[in-house]
């Protein structure tokens, strides 16, 4: 922290760190200044000229994104000069803007719309035809570009130049002919390409996965944490429940990064687009599948399983929350004294790591298990034990063993175990080969905490109702724990 100085904002004396940009310092005390090109993660080129303020003694409005706070500075954001300047510049932003809001996916979260309502509201004086540029340009696998809507704020080009350093985008041609485009021979396919959609203040860059699925004003936002890797990027889950017939019937419409010290302003495309399993292939019923398929109430299922859990081998994954891990430990380690626990990240959960955000461990919470002193056995050993007929009960929690061992081998191995229990949100390819299926909630349907690779404990909130009878993993473990206790009392074994 630098020196704290006093300055005047709209006549009010406020404090800020010396050198902090006025646009940020004002926001800190609740004064939002309109802007397009400035982004705290991408710098302040000062090209949009929207964030102007009046400084005492200066005859012309000055951009607040280029103005450091200093002792005695006297700025106003609410004068006639500022309002006229902002409305005038907004008008110039809109001279050649197509104004195609009714068919634009950005509508509802567009900087041009928002500021027009807030500071524009003028009658258009444009009698000239609009300039035409490229429409529907596939910038990359995730991003669609509309050059006509672009206001050339350069946020996206600065992102690919300075953050990913992949340089796919550029402003080509000069002046009024200038347009955003792809560098020759390049495609916007870097691992963080979706962020350009978030930072685009207008509808120039839209999300090919999301566009035309649902209007943004029907979405609800819930703070969450990305479960895609051990980084634990803070995200916002945007859900569509008010118009269930939109978004192809899917409840989760999109994920957006949320600023935090863990991930800054960004998230990777793997995390952003990796939510298909939240609405597909889900388990909802508590089922016994052998000898015939029967749906059971949770209590009956718990009673039935209680007797079968002693001596089981348990497979889990870093998808479990800290709360899940605590209940997991209470049931399997403390009560059942099971030592055969397998949850380490195998090739199924190890992937690309880079210097920006992505971690090689593709599950969010192995740290949570480590913090409780849990140790994972080797999956190779487990396979050998199954081959050797040593495993009488295999309890699989939120893990797809077909991805650990390969589908054929996993199927062959499962066939050798007399009792296989699958607990989790998704059925997976092995879901029909098990004896019991226990539906668990996905992370968006529960609340909990993940501990990221740095040891930071981060809470995530419940965005959606559970599907069918599904319950959080920890609740299932508690239920089973009680049933095991009751069974032991019945048998006369001391709990």
């Amino acid at each position: 922290m630098g020196k704290i100085v006093k300055y005047k904002l709209n006549g009010r004396e406020v404090e800020a760190e010396e050198g902090r940009l006025v646009i940020d310092a004002a926001k800190d005390v609740g004064v939002e200044i309109a802007h397009y090109c400035y982004h705290p993660g991408l710098g302040n080129p000062g090209n949009c000229r929207m964030c102007v303020v009046e400084v005492a003694g200066v005859p012309k409005p000055l951009p607040s994104c280029r103005m450091p706070v200093k002792e005695g500075l006297d700025v106003r954001t609410d004068t006639e000069m500022v309002k006229r300047a902002q409305a005038g510049v907004l008008e110039l932003h809109l001279v050649n803007h197509p104004l195609d809001c009714p068919v634009c996916d950005q509508a509802g979260e567009c900087g041009l719309q928002d500021y027009y309502m807030k500071i524009g509201q003028y009658q258009s004086q444009v009698r000239e035809d609009k300039e035409h540029k490229g429409k529907r340009i596939e910038a990359g696998p995730h991003v669609m570009l509309d050059q006509e809507r672009c206001i050339l704020c350069t946020r996206c080009t600065r992102f690919v130049d300075n953050v990913t350093k992949t340089h796919e985008l550029g402003i080509f041609s000069r002046g009024h002919d200038g347009k955003l485009g792809l560098a020759p021979g390049k495609v916007l396919d870097n691992a963080y390409s979706g962020n350009v959609v978030d930072i685009c203040p207008v509808g120039a860059l839209t999300d090919r996965d999301f566009r035309y699925k649902v209007r943004v004003w029907y979405l609800d936002h819930t703070d969450s944490v990305c479960p895609g890797c051990a980084r634990g990027c803070n995200i916002s889950v945007h859900t569509n429940t008010r118009r269930p017939w939109h978004n192809d019937g899917k409840r989760v419409a999109r994920l957006k990064p949320r600023f935090s010290e863990v991930n800054g302003h960004w998230m990777c495309d793997d995390g952003r687009y990796g939510f298909a399993s939240l609405d597909a292939d889900r388990l909802g019923k508590v089922l016994r599948l052998h000898p015939e398929r029967v749906e059971l109430p949770w209590a009956d299922m718990a009673e039935e399983l209680a007797g079968r859990l002693e001596g089981a081998s348990v497979v889990a994954s870093g998808m479990l929350s800290n709360e899940d891990w605590a209940a997991f430990k209470a049931l399997f380690v403390d009560t059942l004294k099971i030592r055969d626990l397998y949850f380490s990240a195998e090739p199924d959960q190890i992937g690309v790591e880079d210097k920006l955000l992505r971690r090689s461990e593709k599950v969010p919470n192995l740290k949570g298990a480590e913090a409780l002193g849990l140790r994972s056995g080797s999956f190779d050993q487990l396979a050998k034990d199954i081959e050797g007929g040593k495993v009488s009960c295999l309890y699989i929690i939120e893990r797809d063993l077909s991805k650990v061992w390969g589908e054929a081998r996993a199927k062959a191995l499962l066939a050798k175990v007399p009792c296989v229990i699958l607990q989790g949100p998704n059925k997976g390819v092995l879901g029909d080969l098990v004896h019991y299926r226990l539906p668990a909630t996905a992370y968006v349907e529960e609340e909990g905490c993940f501990t990221n690779f740095e040891g930071k404990v981060q809470p995530y909130k419940k965005a959606l109702e559970p599907i069918g009878s599904s319950r959080p993993d920890w609740e299932i473990f508690q239920l089973l724990g009680k049933a095991v206790g009751a069974a032991r009392v019945k048998k006369g074994v001391a709990a």
Partner: protein
């Protein structure tokens, strides 16, 4: 009439080192090198030399803002701006063609003053001949041992008008798009490759050898208070003898026109654009104003780079405004919105007015759009986009009114 830069321009081989030295060339550099840097800067401050590329910023004052070595260790650079692109300006072309060594010598004096060991001359892409002349002169200077302490390299522009603006020029030199930087920081603190850099115009550096030899006071006395020395005008348009003329700072506009033979064909004067197309014009009644930075400024326009365009009574102000706005639209770099969008919009409204399709609302709208541009842009080009049309509308309202029905 006192001449400083163009005094020996009648010498046929002035561009060669031998002739240049015979006439006193490189004596200024010799003198400068014998003086402490501080004293060189002091002498230039005393001379009241101001940047002749258009901004009119005191040259010595600019050098002084270069941080000292202990505050900013590492290289510092000199860049000579020979990206002369302002329509109506061609004096740098003549100064370079006739006396390239005068520029080189001046640049080396700047280098000494700010302790730079690398100098660059940035030549407009279209100036192929001048580039070659410089190349030859630099080779001569090198062979004669003048480049021992400071290297000198030539760089060429790619044709953008905006590259003539110092910060855009630096971006171009770094291989980027010619987008002006938003100061602060200024180039003397954060310039080429982020290092302290002095960017001076060809004419400005050409003055330096003479200031060194004859002293700052001598130079200051040639001009008026606050604007020392002489100024070189490029005169074109409806004038009998267009060309490059050198006058003391503060010369009356009337004298300048007379020296150039007066208005062509004895017609009446409509206006004079004093500093290059982007400046508001001066009228018949302004003929007695003194042509120096401050007096011209007081008359509501700018001395700029001395690109004087004379327009006679046959000219239509709407056509002039349209012509200039078309140029500015074409050359706007497109970085900041008010200039990019405002220039094109202004041009298109004027185009419609010229086609006879103007309406009563167009004139107040042109004024309004101009106001919305000026003062809200990054660089000087943007400022002028909003000024030019308004200036012609104010000075020649009848020309505009007769173009729109209901007299606007």
């Amino acid at each position: 009439m006192t001449k400083v830069l163009t005094r020996h321009f009648d010498e046929p081989k002035l561009h060669e080192l031998e002739t240049y030295r015979r006439l006193g060339g490189y004596k200024g550099l010799e003198k400068a090198l014998s003086m402490p840097r501080k004293d060189v800067i002091e002498e230039v401050k005393k001379s009241n030399l101001r940047g002749l590329g258009g901004a009119g910023f005191p040259t010595g004052g600019k050098w002084e803002t270069v941080p000292p070595e202990e505050k900013s260790p590492g290289p510092r650079y000199v860049v000579v701006n020979c990206d002369e692109s302002e329509p109506g300006c061609f004096k740098d072309r003549v100064l370079v063609t006739r006396a390239p060594h005068q520029v080189i010598e001046g640049a080396l004096i700047v280098a000494h003053a700010i302790d730079a060991h690398d100098a660059f001359i940035f030549v407009r892409g279209e100036y192929q001949d001048q580039h070659d002349i410089f190349a030859k002169a630099i080779a001569e200077a090198e062979a004669a041992g003048f480049l021992k302490h400071c290297s000198m390299k030539l760089m060429r522009g790619a044709g953008a008008y905006i590259s003539g603006l110092d910060t855009a020029l630096l971006e171009t030199m770094e291989g980027k798009k010619a987008w002006p930087r938003q100061p602060p920081p200024f180039p003397t603190v954060f310039g080429l490759m982020g290092r302290p850099t002095v960017v001076n115009n060809v004419e400005t550096v050409s003055m330096l050898p003479h200031i060194m030899v004859n002293g700052g006071e001598w130079f200051a006395k040639l001009g008026v208070p606050k604007s020392g020395g002489t100024v070189v005008f490029s005169i074109s348009g409806h004038i009998e003898k267009p060309g490059v003329y050198e006058f003391p700072m503060g010369v009356k506009l009337r004298e300048v026109l007379a020296a150039a033979g007066g208005i062509k064909g004895g017609k009446k004067l409509k206006c004079v654009i004093p500093g290059g197309t982007s400046m508001p014009p001066l009228l018949e009644k302004d003929l007695d104003i003194a042509m120096d930075f401050d007096s011209v400024r007081a008359a509501g326009t700018f001395l700029g780079a001395g690109g004087m365009i004379v327009l006679d009574e046959t000219v239509d102000a709407v056509e002039v405004a349209h012509n200039i706005e078309r140029f500015l639209t074409h050359e706007s770099c497109g970085q900041c919105t008010p200039c990019r969008e405002g220039s094109a919009w202004t041009e298109r409204i004027l185009e419609r007015v010229l086609e006879g399709k103007g309406t009563a609302e167009d004139l107040p709208n042109l004024t309004r759009v101009g106001e919305n541009i000026t003062g809200k842009v990054i660089c000087a080009l943007g400022e002028t986009v909003g000024v030019v049309t308004r200036a012609y509308m104010t000075k020649f309202p009848e020309d505009f009114k007769k173009r729109v029905p209901n007299n606007g």
